[in-house]
């Protein structure tokens, strides 16, 4: 599904290159559930952002669903991730001024779905996540776990092939975290959604099918479970 070849990301500091990602090569197949681990500053989030096309690497080749991302223009890139990728953030990043319903609806608006279609899709996912009763509340009226649930619902609404989750449980207590992980596993197993998550927690990492360990911008180990 996606392939990174010799990808590096660095900042020029004086005469030295300060590597955040250093010559990373990685292939991800459809249906995988990958957990990226590593200490702070090892480049986990940057790797995720590069995969999500929010950040561009300094060097290397990046292919996504058969397209050479490193050759695409900004506009084409955003069209690509709009269609295939859903993002889940540690801090949820819901829009405070929008209700639960409207937050979930937003990606559909940007993908030019018709009003009636949007209604059906949002209703469907609200139902699936059992948050129908919360649809008119604003983010500030929800608990952290509920907010993240909305965040995931929003990421899934446009039926992406790939979910990128940056420490999705980082702000949650362990019980809420477990529920979110259960949900991810279910999505991966039942709906076949490819998931790449960044996490600090060994326990959460084990929900995945492969664990990649990063250290100082390099892949230190990669093991299948």
């Amino acid at each position: 599904m996606l392939s990174l070849q010799h990808v590096s990301k660095y900042y020029q500091v004086g005469g030295n290159k300060n590597f955040v990602l250093n010559d990373i090569s990685l292939d991800v197949d459809e249906g995988e559930f990958i957990s990226i681990m590593g200490p702070s500053g090892s480049g986990k989030s940057t790797l995720l952002n590069v995969i999500g096309m929010l950040d561009a690497p300094s060097e290397g080749y990046h292919y996504f669903v058969g397209q050479a991302v490193h050759q695409l223009k900004e506009k084409q890139r955003s069209a690509l991730y709009k269609q295939y990728i859903g993002f889940v953030f540690q801090a949820y990043h819901l829009i405070d001024e929008l209700t639960v319903y409207e937050n979930i609806e937003t990606p559909l608006i940007y993908q030019d779905f018709k009003g009636s279609e949007r209604k059906a899709m949002v209703a469907d996912i609200l139902d699936k996540f059992q948050i129908v009763g919360k649809k008119d509340l604003f983010p500030s009226q929800l608990s952290g776990g509920q907010q993240q649930l909305v965040g995931i619902a929003r990421a899934l609404i446009a039926k992406p092939k790939l979910i990128l989750a940056d420490e999705p449980t980082g702000n949650l207590n362990s019980k809420q975290g477990d529920e979110i992980m259960q949900l991810f596993r279910k999505l991966n197993k039942e709906d076949g959604v490819t998931i790449i998550q960044v996490t600090h927690s060994e326990k959460n990492a084990e929900y995945g099918s492969r664990i990649i360990n990063l250290l100082d911008g390099k892949i230190e180990s990669s093991k299948n479970i």
């Binding site: 952002n49 999500g52 929010l54 950040d55 506009k75 955003s78 991730y81 709009k82 993002f87 953030f89 990043h93 819901l94 829009i95 405070d96 001024e97 929008l98 409207e102 937003t106 990606p107 608006i109 940007y110 993908q111 929003r154 446009a158």
Partner: protein, 823 residues
């Protein structure tokens, strides 16, 4: 999508209430100013725009110059209209008419007490050609027959309703209106009163041929006198599209030369000129008609500039506040971008938000504007009304204004906001983004611009107030308090009646002194003649302004006599009291030297007038005109001495004496002039009136100043919020390291106050230049003192500092733990 934007906009406006209110207030001030000024300017610029072929219609006006002094008259000499019709080519139609002022009209109704309408102003003599040139809608009667015979009159619809309130237009035809007790005119037509703005406000059109049958009128019009011109005698022409204005003017002047050949000793020049219809409402040399008011184009352009400035201030404010607020919106933008929004979609989202805020501001402005108009009611024409649904052009203007203001104030913030990179937003790096420096720089220049504008207004207001104060408090060379003047009627008045009135006035106990003469020492009218003096070697020719008075004139106005004696009752127009200026012009070293000398007044009998006294100089006009040679003398027998100058005794503590005196004068007046209204004018009020225009400008500028200071301070507040937000962490660190509140306030304020000072430096030369230009209107002027600039600068600094304190102090006393915790 639009619905979505709208919903979000409303929530955003609601969430950031303070910012929204500041934005809406700032914009609505600008928009109200723009609306009100649009109404004023639009009113004046739409005068007489509706006439068919208006671009080819001209008024023939007369220009003169007497020994180099130019003068202008909006009329033509009596015989010209006939000559134009008979002897000229290239004129498609010519319409002469003659304006008549203060005409009484009586509507006979069979009873002994017919309805009487005094002093009608809009009566003219006209013929059918007037209605051919200016098309009116005929409600009754017809253009073909209405004004052909003598003693016919055409009324406008509104006037007809005044004269005959109970009749229909058809019924009014054939009814009689008696003008000036003798001219019995029959109503032969009724035309619709023009609904558009026009200076042609005439309502009673008496047939021109009536003049041939009425001796008084015939003399007044003097149809065969080429050498006399009255501004009442108007001539409008429509010229052929093929001919140029210059060609027609040439033909007109050839006519003049042919009929009125110049004499050898005549050192005056006269010529005709064509005045475009569009110029009629604006040219103060000619005025519109005898009773019409005109507008000053430069004042109108000045108003437009003021409106633009205030509007720009409002927009700058919006840009400043919105970009300052940007970091608060950053997260939303980042999220939206990762959700797949394009930049265009974000730009249109922000623009629609701006549009909503602007619309709210427009609604506020629409509510407020009628009150602002009322505020300026004393110098804004009463025809200017804020009638949203009755004025389609106003609707269009408001719509355009909304769109333009939304775009101007919304475009840049939308660009800035939509340019945020999602990755840096989501990593909380937005405050150190690459946009920051450029952004701050732009915001600072905008703020400096605001303060340049605000301080310019402050300085201008200070200077104009200073000049008005100077003009009203300067020693003008005469006394002006407690003196009033009454002008007895021009018509139906005799020397006997005036003598009776004078004797009765003198008997009123509250009156100190009465003088009979012409204009008071300072007046808008001028009466002057060319005079000469021969000092043995050479002849000194000048214009000499004359003030008519009697032996009490000097005493009433407390004009100081420097040499010689006052007039006494045995003197005549042969004795002169000249002013110091004239004595100097004639070359006398001391005033005493002038006494007993003779001046050639250019009279037919060649008898010279004697200088019997020299008076201290005084200003015969407003301070716009310099002091020129002048003499005070008895009136000549041929002239009317109609004006009574009355010095009242000072009022005692209880007051009320003047009121009583005026009441007794009024009852005396009623006894002598029962048909005329009693009118009086205090001299000091008359002088204050000279500066009416300045007073109006001053009032307007005071408002503009207040508003621009308010808006600018709002803008500064926005900038202060922005910088304190930006430096929260720095402030926290400094406080932990031991900085005091005052040190932090100073740190935060200095930079912004420097902007105000920079603005002062920029605006001072500009304001100085502009003020100098304006002051050239005045012959005698108050100096442009340094303290005007200093006061404006200090005032602005104080206002700015107070505004800033509200933010800086808050930032300085906040708990540093809070601001440092976020990492």
């Amino acid at each position: 999508m639009i619905k979505n934007y709208l919903k979000l906009s409303i929530r955003n406006i609601w969430k950031h209430k303070v910012f929204s209110i500041i934005n809406i207030v700032g914009l609505s001030i600008g928009i109200s100013a723009a609306l009100v000024i649009y109404l004023i300017v639009h009113h004046d610029f739409t005068f007489d725009q509706f006439h068919k072929d208006g671009d080819r219609i001209y008024r023939v006006v007369s220009n003169y110059s007497f020994s180099g002094d130019p003068s202008y008259n909006s009329g033509v000499c009596g015989p010209l209209p006939a000559a134009v019709k008979n002897e000229m080519t290239g004129i498609e139609s010519a319409a002469p008419f003659y304006t008549l002022n203060d005409f009484n009209a009586i509507i006979p109704n069979g009873s002994k007490t017919p309805t009487k309408f005094k002093k009608q102003q809009d009566v003219v003599l006209a013929d059918a050609s007037y209605f051919k040139l200016f098309e009116y809608q005929w409600l009754a009667g017809s253009i073909k027959s209405a004004l052909n015979a003598p003693y016919q009159v055409v009324l406008t619809s509104d006037k007809a309703k005044v004269y005959f309130p109970l009749l229909t237009f058809e019924q009014i035809i054939g009814k009689q209106v008696v003008y000036e007790d003798t001219i019995k005119a029959t109503v032969s037509g009724i035309v619709q009163k023009p609904i558009e703005n026009t200076d042609f406000q005439f309502s009673d059109f008496i047939s021109y041929s009536t003049a041939n049958s009425v001796k008084d009128l015939k003399e007044q019009i003097s149809l065969d006198e080429w050498r006399s011109t009255s501004s009442s005698s108007q001539l409008f022409v429509k010229i052929s599209a093929k001919l140029s204005v210059a060609n027609i003017e040439q033909q007109l002047n050839a006519l003049l030369k042919k009929h009125n050949p110049k004499k050898a000793d005549d050192n005056s020049k006269s010529s005709f000129q064509l005045q475009a219809l569009s110029d009629l409402h604006f040219n103060e040399k000619y005025g519109s008609f005898d009773s019409g008011t005109i507008a000053n184009k430069s004042t109108l352009y000045g108003l437009l500039t003021v409106a633009t400035f205030i509007l720009v201030l409002g927009c700058i404010n919006f840009i400043n506040l919105t970009t300052a607020q940007a970091s608060q919106r950053a997260k939303e933008i980042g999220v939206r971008k990762t959700m797949g929004s394009t930049r265009m979609q974000l730009i249109s989202q922000f623009l629609s938000e701006t549009f909503l805020i602007t619309s709210l501001a427009v609604i506020v402005a629409i509510v407020v504007s009628p009150f602002i108009l009322k505020l300026f009611a004393d110098f804004v024409s009463k025809d200017i009304k804020f009638d949203l649904f009755g004025q389609p052009s106003l609707m269009v203007f408001i719509l355009l204004l909304t769109i333009i203001v939304s775009f101007v104030s919304g475009f840049y913030p939308a660009l800035v906001l939509s340019s945020f990179k999602p990755i840096s937003v989501l990593k909380n790096q937005i405050t150190s983004g690459s946009n920051k420096t450029r952004n701050a720089w732009l915001r600072k220049s905008l703020t400096v611009t605001q303060f340049v504008i605000a301080q310019f207004f402050i300085m201008a207001t200070l200077l104009i107030s200073k000049q008005i104060y100077y003009a009203l408090h300067k020693d003008l060379g005469f006394k002006k308090d407690g003196i009033l003047s009454i002008t007895t009627p021009f018509k139906n008045n005799t020397a006997g009646k005036k003598q009776v009135f004078l004797n009765q006035l003198r008997a009123i106990p509250q009156i100190e002194l009465v003088s009979v003469g012409g204009e008071p020492p300072s007046s808008s009218g001028t009466h002057s003649r060319s005079v000469s003096y021969t000092d043995g070697k050479k002849e000194i020719k000048t214009d000499l302004e004359l003030k008519m008075g009697d032996e009490n004139y000097l005493n009433i106005y407390k004009i100081k006599l420097l040499a010689g004696r006052n007039l006494n009752p045995s003197d005549t127009a042969m004795q002169l009291i000249i002013n110091q200026n004239y004595a100097k012009v004639l070359g006398f070293k001391t005033p005493q030297d002038a006494i007993g000398k003779y001046i050639n007044m250019g009279k037919v009998d060649k008898v010279n007038s004697e200088i019997i006294g020299v008076a201290h100089d005084f200003y015969p006009k407003s301070l716009r005109s310099p002091i020129k040679p002048l003499a005070i003398t008895y009136h000549e027998k041929a002239f009317n001495n109609n004006t009574f100058h009355i010095a009242l005794k000072p009022e005692t503590a209880g007051g009320g004496e003047w009121k009583a005196a005026i009441a007794s004068m009024q009852s005396l007046w009623k006894g002598i002039y029962p048909n005329d209204d009693f009118e009086y004018q205090f001299f000091d009020e008359r002088i204050a009136k000279f500066y009416e225009e300045e007073q109006h400008i001053s009032k307007l500028l005071t408002w503009a100043t207040g508003l621009s200071i308010l808006i600018s301070c709002l803008g500064l507040l926005g900038l202060a919020i922005y910088t304190t937000n930006l430096r929260t962490k720095e402030i926290g660190v400094r406080k932990v390291l031991g900085a005091s509140v005052s040190q932090i306030v100073r740190l935060l304020s200095t930079e912004l106050l420097m902007l105000v000072i920079l603005a002062l430096v920029i605006v001072t030369p500009i304001a100085w230049y502009a003020m100098n230009k304006w002051m050239q209107n005045f012959a005698d002027k108050t100096p442009i003192s340094w303290w005007i600039f200093a006061l404006s600068g200090v005032g602005m600094l104080i206002a700015a500092f107070v505004t800033l304190s509200s933010q800086t102090v808050k930032a300085a006393i906040s708990n540093p733990v809070k601001s440092l915790r976020s990492e």
